[in-house]
Symmetry: D2
Subunit: 484 residues, 4 copies
């Protein structure tokens, strides 16, 4: 039991701003701020994990945590382009089927890398290990170096620019270099690696849903599908490269809702949605089967096409990370589906959901049984070891979090009782942090942090977590909070 | 006392779809529908005013109404380009200072015009007049012919395409032709003309606020300001042209919130907002003074620059139409301002506003005293005759509308008592209609319409309206509903 | 279609206070006011029907009404005791089986009667008739002359005092004198007579439920059951007496909820409740069957005993008045039943009911279909002509009343369509009035009255009523408001 | 820091029902249950403290508590009348000025006492002491032996019966015997004694406010004032007697609201209310001044009369226990005051208070600063050592309790910082218990108890309490929850 955090969301606040990523540019863009696409909150006013990591790790240990999943910021390691590092790349038509990052390339990368950042990450990671916690290092949690993705340019040119992120194979190649480099460099400190966190959100929110406030914020289903394909290739290629550098398990973390049919008529729509948002991402990396679901982000229409098998993609996952917060209720819509408002991730803060459930500050319905459903879905389809890599709630007043915590943990226990191989539960998160386009208003921490003084605020749920951690299960006295 | 309605929002539903406008393309675009930018409701399922106008006019008369403000759809009159019609256009640098549409041009336009549409509009308008109601004809209520504005192309090219609406002077010139043509053609039926309805919303929602769901939905402050300049030129040039064709008063209708400072520290911000959203549009057309406020739609930052006087723009308003629904509460933000959530147009449906007021289905706070404030603001600054050209509420259950109606009418009476020249009150609207990106869900009618059967549903507020119309003032027995 | 009103609730406010009743004493008692048993509002600040009846009758006619049901205050007609008037009374054991009020007694009563009051009532009633409205005169609507019932004394002595209202047969005998006297005196002006309004509330609220704030407010199930028996005897004896004096139909008005079982297990409980609250009152007066349900007011326990038939009670109803406002949902509880909170008359103002319905200012759930159920229940059991003699809603803001009105009237239409003999719908009420222990805060009027100025306030629902009255049915355009 | 509990509310549930008190009779009375005066929940289904005290004491210790305030049930110690025990009683007119319970009387009492109960209480109390907790023994927490008070009889006879509780001096005399007996008997186990808990509620709710559901539930201001006088005499006489038997501090525990004026016009009313509800009870026992405020419970009218000084009452308090839950906002009303709905103890569950605060399940507003005000009021007037002897919240979901706890404790700290002599904070309560007329629905525990299985349920606030107890102050990390 432990926590997950991401670099961009938590590192800044005291020293060492990292201005070299697309997300930095995106949240500082005056047009984005002026039009309300992003909150106007700025990550450089954050909780300062970069400097205060010892304090925070201490807190984690006091809370009974034994695992931390932390991310590395690509743009911190390589603030300047790595394009000059020679690697061998093979294509089969439009498909990138191999990237060979050899030792010479690794040494070249080592000369290009920002050693201060490398050393600082080593200090942070060593501190985790020295406190007896396990460490999962995640390579990619959304920001891309600005030299590979200028989201303002991408938006303003209608995605016609050169530095357009996952729409370019360049990004894939450079990512593989970076991924192998960190596997090589942090091999000794990691217990496990994760290649990417929620790549499905990156292509979905970035290209299908301009209201989400994700870069490049330009609606383009074609762009989204291309980004998805490239992300999958990047994962497969990075897996190959990382496994050369490390014997540690290498996995992938996915974003999930428990996708449910609204009525009996909507079962096919729910299946389509599940393929579109979950299986179409993971299937290729497990079986090599490329079965595209061309879906708009809200999934209101779709077209499926099978692109056959790609040997080069299959069997690239040692474990799966399951992030879960709420459900999605879908209805048939045309040939596709649409997500119903009032339920799951589409409920409204300050009101009960249409399902009569509590709703978080971010408008997400509390729906704990969905975690079990999602775990089952992965388990039955892939049979891989799983970790719940994110689960939590934006709840500034901490009124819902104790029950949320207990209920979701209980469903993890049930998953284990049913024989699923669930190896951990990582809460999102130990601390409040920077919630992307929503800024600091969404408070996901067991502990709050006063952004001015950086003082820590204990929420009751932190105490509840500790009780569970101490018992290594949900103790009977807390079971009354389980919602089912 | 009467009602206002717009063509695109009400005409379709039975026969004669008009597919030749940017708004038609916009609300049918699968990307827009799929991403939730627009509702997915379609105007061709509307209330069928084109066919049922007699029934609806009858209803208006029964409700005690004596005035109708109706719009003409540009794309119905000229489904094909009028670019071939020769007119003399003068520029002074980038400023369009004159468009001369002579008689030969008018005749050419007459040959190009869709005579079935012209004749049908004459029938509709004659029916209004024959029932003893006055008629205000509005030339422009948002849709632009597709040959002048392809909003999908505009969005996807980052506004780099040719058919990009108000960003082109072409659109101004063609609008002037159209405006003169209808003034010439409907001169005998109109009591008054309005050149445009809420041009400030067109540039604001279209270019500053992609979440509004207005075409082209591409965030570009520069684009928005250019569109604003061109709209102002179009109004001035159309005024000149229309006045050649008609002796009837020609005015302009503006969208308004009562802009208020949140605290004493925010008075400057409120002033900036009022300039940005109101005066910067009307001042040029009254005094010729071009004093730009370069503001983002949420007004979070701004820069003011005076561009001196333009003789060619001054004195182009015979009257002003004031549309009013709610207020805006603003705070200082950087050098500019930001609109506070929870108040005015930014409240939340289903909850009280932060000011403790009722809130409509569209999340707009009921704030009747703001109408008096807005009327005063226009009266003091411009001294022109005014008509309240829109005022109403999305309220499917009709719980708020009776009080809304009585209260706002009472404030109109107070404006008149204070000596302001307010010549009428037109409710938005007689009937439910198509609320742009929100579709049919927002119900603004004194009467509902069953979209399937087109049957009319009387709301209690229609009966209240009738009582007021009969008394020609708010009768004492209804004054208890006035909110102040 | 018309309205109902009661003397105590509406007459006072300008002149002629009537201080001679138990209710006057009750609502002025400092202990009652101080302990919150009653509101502290006083009837002498009321709407002044006694003086303003012409204005109000005019309003009724304008609203399209054709019937008024008005009450006479017993204590106005006989401010002093009528015990000295000789009549022949027969008992069979404890049962009062006959009261003979002969002509000599009538003349004696005529000498004792307050002629100013008699004449004033004649003026009020004549005014109704002269405006073309039908008139139903109701003899008893709760207040009892203080010389027959001193509720403070009753409460403080634990019901051991002499002047203890319906617990004494004296009250029955004096009531019969009064009832015959008014039938004799107002025979020419009435279209129909009602003997009592909601006698079931008088014994229920007065003796079973001290929280209701009804005199004598002393919990005593035995007292309540005795009061009930005496009321039934009073109705039967008054019927006999009144029929000697008039050929007009003489009926009884009952209070009703639509009593429903919460679940399948609760059907018996619902049946018990229906007997307890409805049939046990009406059965004796129809068939002579005395089948007591000894129930506590909340009905949590009960014991049934049949006391055989009483010939002297049977067939005493020419018509039944059905008052209906909401439902009651009951569950089995011990051998009896209990009324569930959150539904029907036990919902909470300001929240939805547990059934998801709207709730009035008095905490009563809007449940229109219940009116049809109640009418069916009477129709099937008794087959008598019925009038909906009360139906309305405490709704100061008039948000619920339009829909309430339309929906309930629609259910009356359905009752008629199903073949039931429903002869009228009387709204409670034309005007706001004095709601007993709740005082003036509960506003039941189609029209409000400013208590200071006595000025009338038109509510939108008054206009809706007028539309329905004009059409003599719920017009199609208003049917959208019907809730089902 | 510790907790308070009362015998009747917690002891029963497993073995040893105590049926010999007025409250037992009251909550089992079918009329009370049937009329909803009491909940129908029964104390014999309670949490079983009598049997499970070790488990619960263990829980208290685990929660970091160091003090328990427990009550003894009079009717358990003396199930039969003690009237036969001879004591010397002196009267001065109607005033009971001395009761001398000599050793012989104590021995007589010892023979009459139920030794099983005495021994069992000794076991419970010893267990407290053996766990290192301090013990405050409270003699009277509301139930009176049935032989001294038959509340059904009292109610039904209009308080004319013999066994009518505090209306008889007999009750005073027997109470003094009992009080001295337990001081003598439990002297070795108690750290402090309290004579009574909230005697002001007993006379207020019992005689002024029949809706409160307290025995005898008969409205009688005279009765209430007499009961109040007798309670004060009982406290003074018991103090004298107990001090003969023990050297431990003997105090009194009062119920409190923070009484506030609604507006500037209402300051006098607030002062009157504070005298009526607080000072008129404590002043006599401190200074001997009898200054009656004859107030109705809602205080809507009042009359003050000074009855001079009584030497025999003065200086009978070693310490004061302050129970605090919320505030009362009052307005002037006639010559007295009335408590405003929507605030303090008169808010509504499920809605915000009119002051915009959170509201508990029992409809009590969360108003922590009021605790400081109340403590100041006692401190300034009496200068005695104080203990916060009750403070807590009915909050089944535990959403408000963590903040409630932290905020109120913080205000205790502030009281201490300001120099007040506050010696402890006892939470109401460690465990859910039987909330008198409201039954089990109001859940005041840091821990819940499943009434069927008697299993304990940990609420997050129990963990918060523990953190505070461990730090012996509100730790900085929890201060964010303080509401001010």
């Amino acid at each position: 039991m432990g926590y997950s955090l991401a670099g961009f969301q938590s590192e800044m606040g005291i020293s060492e701003e990292d201005r070299n990523s697309d997300w930095w540019a995106w949240v500082h863009d005056p047009v984005n701020i002026g039009t309300g696409i992003v909150s106007g909150d700025l990550p450089e006013n954050g909780i300062g994990y970069w400097d205060l990591y010892e304090r925070y790790h201490n807190l984690a240990v006091e809370t009974g945590m034994d695992t931390a999943r932390l991310g590395i910021e690509w743009s911190r390691i390589f603030p300047e382009s790595t394009a000059g590092v020679k690697v061998t790349v093979d294509y089969d038509g439009h498909d990138l089927v191999s990237v060979d990052v050899d030792d010479r390339a690794l040494e070249h990368l080592d000369r290009l890398a920002n050693m201060r950042a490398v050393e600082h990450y080593r200090k942070i990671f060593s501190d985790v290990r020295e406190r007896g916690m396990k460490l999962i290092i995640n390579a990619y949690h959304w920001p891309i170096p600005i030299y590979l993705h200028d989201p303002i340019e991408s938006r303003d040119s209608g995605l016609r620019n050169k530095r357009n992120g996952w729409l370019n194979h360049d990004t894939v190649v450079e990512f593989v270099k970076y991924a192998k480099y960190i596997a090589w460099k942090f091999e000794d400190l990691a217990d496990m690696f994760s290649i990417m966190n929620e790549p499905n959100v990156v292509c979905g929110a970035g290209y299908f849903n301009p209201k989400a406030g994700f870069p490049p914020g330009f609606p383009s289903p074609e762009g989204g599908l291309l980004a998805k394909k490239h992300e999958i290739e990047a994962i497969a290629r990075a897996y190959d490269a990382m496994k050369e550098a490390t014997g540690k398990p290498v996995g992938l973390i996915m974003a999930n809702g428990d996708i449910q049919a609204f009525s009996d008529e909507d079962h096919e729509a729910a299946e389509v949605a599940t393929h579109s948002e979950r299986y179409s991402f993971v299937d290729p990396l497990r079986t090599g089967e490329m079965k595209w679901v061309e879906a708009l982000s809200q999934g209101r229409s779709f077209r499926e096409k099978s692109a056959g098998y790609r040997e080069d993609l299959a069997d690239k996952l040692d474990w799966i990370g399951v992030n879960y917060y709420s459900r999605s209720v879908v209805r048939k819509s045309g040939q596709g589906y649409r997500v119903l408002g009032g339920y799951g991730y589409s409920a409204t803060a300050g009101m009960r959901s249409k399902g009569g459930r509590e709703v978080s500050d971010s408008g997400w319905e509390v729906y704990p049984e969905g975690l079990l459903n999602v775990l089952s879905s992965y388990w039955e389809r892939y049979g891989l070891p799983m970790i719940v890599t994110e689960n939590g709630i934006a709840d500034a007043s901490d009124r819902l979090r104790p029950g949320y915590l207990v209920s979701h943990m209980k469903y993890v226990e049930r998953a284990i009782e049913k024989g699923m191989d669930v190896r951990g539960y990582l809460h999102w998160s130990l601390l409040d942090n920077y919630e992307w386009a929503s800024g600091f208003s969404m408070k996901f921490g067991l502990y709050g942090v006063d952004l001015r003084t950086k003082k820590v605020q204990t929420r009751p749920s932190a105490l509840v977590f500790k009780e569970i951690a101490r018992a290594r299960c949900v103790p009977e006295e807390l079971e009354w909070m389980v919602q089912e």
